[in-house]
């Protein structure tokens, strides 16, 4: 494990300025209710505008509609979007992981069909992992795909599926052959499923604040053509693990509270609160600076062709706990009774953070699972 310090090149700093200029024009401060990180609003028009500039699927090859940019370039775009609280929800999953996985494991036909549309910002994807009896123990999934003429028939239930009611496609981890004794990782496959398929039913699982993100997706004899199997049948576990590596360690794991903190400073400026928040801000900028440097070095490592799974798990475990810590510090410091209906934007955002941030250390792999992944890769004293 080694995080090597890195910094942005002139070209990369240019990109950063371009993204800042775009955001200032599209979403001037005060003109929009900032989103809290990756749980951002879906705004297809905004996604299309980003795609126009080549900022969706940007690390994908040009022949598939991407821009052949680096993981660091994508890091820059993503961090600016998230710290601005931009509505990146529509293309989020496709941009972060699905595009990569289709490029890596998909057939030529699947690449042609999906990648250019992802890069145009058109397609929204959901991820089908959890089931009523499978959460952290993901390999125990039991939703079945059985082979039939020309494809597969699916029966079972996926739950806590974010955005299934708004998205177009579903990348689903399914059991394509029965569980073998002692090797539960075998017999799993990933399928690309049209969320409008007959027999597929989507019903909301209201989030704790009443909002609609989660869904239950039930499959009742849903037919999926064989051309929609992603990669090799039976290799789903390996592919899924690869996919998770794209999911971890990026700015979405440490920037979620930023808009809230920034808004506090905006509202405290020139008031009695300004002196109170100063010491807290010292600690926050230092921690953000430090975590960002680690996260950026992971992106740089990806660009050298490595798969830094231990490093990215460490960053995600730390980053998501930091997000919660930030909110706890604000709650501790600010003597207000905030609510989602407060007049002040800061108070509204803080209320939203308090209620939704417990999920940050759960989504995409709980911190307990991350610790188990990361600790296996830790090195002791040199021999």
């Amino acid at each position: 494990m080694r995080f090597t310090p890195t910094e942005l090149t002139e070209e990369e700093l240019d990109l950063q300025q371009q993204v800042r200029g775009f955001l200032l024009e599209e979403l001037p401060p005060g003109s929009h209710e900032p989103c809290l990180g990756m749980a951002a609003r879906k705004d297809k028009d905004f996604s299309l505008k980003m795609a126009d500039r080549g900022w969706v699927g940007m690390a994908l090859p040009k022949e598939w509609g991407g821009s052949d940019r680096t993981a660091v370039d994508r890091f820059i775009v993503v961090e600016e979007m998230l710290r601005w609280g931009a509505p990146v929800g529509h293309h989020w999953v496709a941009d972060r992981q699905t595009g990569n996985v289709i490029l890596k494991f998909g057939t030529q036909e699947q690449r042609e069909r999906f990648l250019p549309a992802i890069c145009r910002g058109e397609l929204g994807f959901s991820i089908g992992m959890s089931e009523p009896d499978s959460g952290s123990d993901l390999a125990s999934v039991s939703t079945k795909a059985e082979e039939t003429t020309g494809g597969w028939i699916i029966n079972g239930t996926k739950i806590w599926t974010s955005g299934a009611h708004e998205n177009d496609w579903f990348v689903c981890l399914l059991r394509t052959s029965p569980m073998e004794d002692g090797n539960k990782h075998a017999g799993l496959s990933q399928l690309l499923i049209d969320l409008k398929s007959p027999g597929l039913e989507i019903s909301p699982i209201p989030f704790l604040d009443g909002s609609h993100h989660f869904n239950e997706v039930t499959f009742n004899e849903v037919f999926v053509p064989e051309t929609n199997v992603l990669g090799d049948p039976g290799m789903g576990w390996h592919q899924n693990t690869t996919e998770m590596a794209y999911e971890r360690g990026g700015p979405d794991r440490w920037l979620s509270p930023f808009s809230t903190v920034e808004q506090l400073l905006r509202e405290a400026k020139g008031t009695e609160l300004e002196a109170t928040v100063a010491d807290l801000f010292g600690e926050l900028v230092a921690r953000w600076w430090g975590i960002r440097n680690l996260s950026l070095s992971v992106a740089r490592l990806i660009d050298t062709g490595e798969a830094p799974s231990v490093e990215s798990s460490l960053v995600k475990e730390m980053g998501t706990r930091f997000e919660q810590e930030v909110i706890e510090k604000l709650v501790h410091l600010i003597d207000l009774e905030y609510s989602p209906e407060s007049e002040s934007l800061f108070e509204r955002l803080l209320a939203q953070c308090v209620v939704t941030f417990p999920g940050n250390t759960i989504r995409g792999g709980t911190i307990e699972i991350l610790r188990s992944v990361a600790s296996k890769g830790l090195k002791g004293l040199p021999a």
Binding site: P5, E283, A286, R287, W288, M318, R371, S375
Partner: protein, 359 residues
């Protein structure tokens, strides 16, 4: 040892090999008991390492600040009981910056500068009266350097330790932190250039401690991974238990965070400024030290609470260094003022741009 950003790997490898040979558990323990580590210092001095980053014309060994900080990181990693920071990047830097030659032996510095002293000026000589506290290895020093501001000018004043009364004292790690009494002591004072002043000295001190701390946290994390993989309870290595894995992961994160912060701050300081990065790095190292010592001690159980096991050489140094050259409150408050003065729109550009965003 893995390659370090911007540093000649020969320095890393040579220093690491040297300390591996001369700083074992027993020699570090003996240094604490005896209050000196002459053999370790002599072996270290023979390589020229103490004077890296100091220009050869002042008696230094040449090389960059980054090279010197890499040696300090390894001093921290091996808990080497020697005044490496004081002799080189602090005392040596003040001497060379004021055009003074370095002596052959140990140099130390009054960490608080002249703030506790009464200073009277007489041409290029100053007379010092008062007490300097927690002066590292004053008992072994050939020269005590006192950074002094008189009106607008900062001087590097040099004092012969024989002219002072030195009372041996230690920090929580048993490292020499002596009390030095100055009673009408004559000091030679050479003026420093404007970019070397009490404030930049404070930052430089923080940078030196950050490098030491990054090394110590990394070693502590590795020691803990090794111990918990060897130690068997309930029929398996305790590292297999999820509750213990939490400590291992937290220790490794803080090791990575502190080292990243220290190396990035070193890079910016080497370029000539880095105030934001140094302040952030010291605050990060302080907090990382607090969390990592807690996690690593917990994972070690009772063994870590004994003198016979080396964890305490690292943890007690970290608790001491956390408070040297600025604790959490000092740097938190400095950074907080900087952050708030940037305003809401400048907050993220500060996090991404650092000191460069301030100019």
């Amino acid at each position: 040892m893995s390659e370090t950003f911007g540093v000649d790997s020969l320095i890393t490898d040579t220093a690491d090999r040297l300390f591996s040979q001369i700083c074992d558990h027993e020699s570090v323990q003996n240094a604490e008991l005896n209050g000196e580590a002459t053999e370790i210092w002599n072996a270290f001095a023979e390589t020229g390492f103490p004077w890296i980053s100091i220009d050869e014309k002042f008696g230094g060994s040449g090389g960059t600040l980054l090279d010197a900080l890499e040696v300090l990181r390894l001093v921290g990693y091996h808990a080497a009981p020697i005044p490496a920071a004081e002799t080189g990047v602090l005392g040596g830097w003040l001497l060379a910056s004021s055009g003074q030659q370095l002596p052959e032996g140990v140099v130390t510095v009054l960490p608080s500068g002249s703030e506790d002293l009464l200073v009277t000026r007489n041409g290029d000589h100053l007379t010092l009266t008062g007490r300097g506290l927690r002066v590292p290895w004053a008992r072994a020093a050939e020269i005590i350097v006192v950074p002094i501001q008189v009106e607008e000018q900062t001087f590097a004043a040099t004092v012969d330790p024989d002219d002072c009364q030195i009372t041996p004292m230690t920090n929580m790690a048993g490292e020499p932190r002596d009390t030095v009494d100055f009673n009408q002591v004559e000091a030679f004072a050479a003026p420093l250039p404007s970019d070397v002043n009490l404030q930049t000295f404070r930052f430089r001190g923080a940078l030196s401690r950050t490098a030491l701390m990054a090394g110590a946290i990394e070693k502590m994390s590795q020691l803990t991974v090794s111990y918990t993989n060897d130690r068997v309870q309930f029929g398996r290595p305790v590292a297999k238990f999820q509750a213990v894995q939490q400590h291992l992961v937290w220790g490794a994160q803080d090791a990575a965070l502190a080292r990243m912060a220290a190396e990035t701050a070193g890079r910016e300081a080497n370029r000539g400024d880095g105030a934001f990065e140094i302040a952030s790095a010291k605050l990060i190292a302080n907090q990382a030290a607090a969390r990592a010592t807690k996690a690593c001690h917990q994972a070690h159980g009772a063994m870590g609470m004994t003198q016979e096991y080396p964890l305490h050489h690292l943890s007690r140094r970290l608790w001491s260094w956390r408070k040297e050259y600025g604790g959490d409150a000092e740097w938190g408050s400095w950074l907080g003022r900087v952050a708030v003065s940037q305003g809401a729109d400048g907050l993220y550009p500060l996090i991404t741009g650092g000191s460069a965003a301030l100019t």
